[in-house]
């Protein structure tokens, strides 16, 4: 049995055509079903619906053989025990630094200010500012990062930006790109060795479908 870990929403929607290319069709819609294990048209393939941040963990420990995870999530996880053979070019967005309108980000860097940063992506943010030679204080939040600079919790935020609509609506502006984000196919390392005959055709179909 091959288990594929996915998250609901955008990643599931954009993965559906890739799964179809590999001849895999979910028999239930995760948006309407409350089941966490979804059967497919193939007896030997099932989907599990997990939180996006948990996908690498399920695959790392072999609870799932394959998974679809954003680069944002993989960078935070570290990718230990995983292969990441394909950039699926789906769920694209950018990891960005944003500040309140009127906040002079460049000037505060020049002065060597020690910025307060709110983010869900602590590791990514730490590495980004370290590479710039900046000392920052990180505050981890689990959502609504945009509030941070507005209520005086922090000077800047590091978060995913796709259209920039939320930033604008909250009077924030993006000042720096940390990196481009898209979703990757992740594979459990031991599973690829032990179940190659079943996994490789799925990986190859994905690779052909994204070309």
């Amino acid at each position: 049995m091959i288990t594929i870990a996915l998250s609901k929403g955008r990643i599931f929607e954009e993965t559906t055509p890739l799964l179809a290319a590999a001849g895999i069709h979910a028999l239930e819609d995760p948006e309407s079903s409350r089941k966490l294990i979804l059967p497919t048209n193939r007896d030997d393939v099932r989907l599990i619906i997990v939180r996006a941040t948990d996908v690498p963990t399920y695959v790392q420990y072999g609870a799932a053989d394959l998974g679809i995870a954003g680069k944002d999530v993989l960078d935070e996880h570290g990718g230990e025990g995983l292969y990441q053979p394909l950039d699926l070019q789906i769920a694209k967005c950018k990891m960005m630094v944003a500040v309140r309108e009127g906040f002079d980000y460049e000037a505060s860097i020049r002065q060597g200010a020690r910025l307060k940063v709110v983010t869900k992506y602590v590791k990514t943010a730490r590495e980004h500012f370290a590479a710039k030679g900046m000392h920052v204080d990180l505050i981890k939040l689990y959502g609504s990062m945009e509030l941070g600079p507005l209520v005086g919790l922090a000077d800047v935020i590091v978060d995913l930006v796709s259209t920039g609509g939320t930033l604008r609506a909250n009077n924030l502006k993006a000042v720096e790109t940390v990196g481009d984000i898209s979703s990757r196919l992740v594979v459990n390392q031991a599973s690829l060795k032990l179940n190659r005959a079943q996994l490789q055709p799925i990986i190859d179909s994905f690779a052909t479908a994204i070309k």
Binding site: Q60, Y61, G62, G79, E80, G81, L82, Y83, Q84, P85, L86, D87, R184, V187, N188, Q189, A190, S191, L192, K193, L194, R196, Q200
Partner: protein, 386 residues
Amino acid sequence: MAMRNWLLPEYIEDVLPAEAARLEALRRQLLDLFKVHGYQYVIPPTLEYLESLITGTGHDLDLATFKVVDQLTGRLMGIRADMTPQAARIDAHMLNHQGVSRLCYAGTVLRTKPDGLAHTREPLQLGAELFGHAGIESDIEIHRLMIKALQALGLKELHIDFSHVAIFEALVKAGNINANLEQALYAALQSKDKASVVLLADSLDTTVKQALMDLTDLNGDASVLQKAEQQLPKLPAISKALADLRIVASQLNDLNVNVSFDLSELRGYHYHSGIVFAAYAKGYTGPIALGGRYDEVGLVFGRARPATGFSLDLRGAVTALMPAVNAKTILAPAGDDKALLSTIEALRADGQVVIQALPNSTSNIVEMSCDKQLIYSNNQWQVQGF
């Protein structure tokens, strides 16, 4: 809050009777196997000065090593996180053999962080190392010994995955790749992250760039070696590595294992120097045994000897087996009847477990795993079921 002073640290655990008995039995079985293959058992110390423990093995082992200050000298000591360098030190400086030496070891190592899937910071490491021979024959000897050891443990569907670090080394040299880029490419190749390899290799010579990208796809059965031959640059070091891998694989046909190749697998790249390998088994979601050639490690001890070997974590490996059960025991009644005592001793001499009840105590036959008892009937002591 009540003091939970019986709680153990995270990822540190007791091994309880049934499992402990099995672990010890398997440990002896493997050491006996190593012994009849000529591998001499050594017992390196649990801790030694940091310099001798981790020199030449890379940053990862340094981070994995618990450190303490020696109260006698003020020097920093490390609690071993891997026994392989200790075996290399013993070979280089304690034995000083001119010819080949074969060593094996078994012992607890400590890791500062749980090692991936093992869920323990205290693996029970068993391994065998062969020093003083640079040819492929010693690699094959080690591969075959590892497979026999894993089969002796009762592991099913064994799968051996081979790689060769000289391929990446040759590309690094051909492309004049600097140390920082080498490190980044190594990490990307380890996770077969083709997208990152493409980005990182952008400024490199096109042949080298293409070869690095190809490496991420060069994994699978023996056909991979053929493909590699066609795709990779015709450098002598690469041709030699591919030829070695072909020979190695052909020497395992009689052992009933699956063999595959993964040319982007570079585990232990910092100290390995030739063929590297990992064993996988059904029921275990990670490499169950690891090894490879490491000809340079002895250099830091003043004597670079060719070396190859493997090791495994026995505590981890047994998790792929059925749960251990307690040995069945025979319950004998209390008393000092001569015939009773001599019957008990005869059974014990035969390897059976006999527990003699103590006066004024309850004998819980479930707790003691008793399935039989000694009963006096027909003028003699007899073993009967309950």
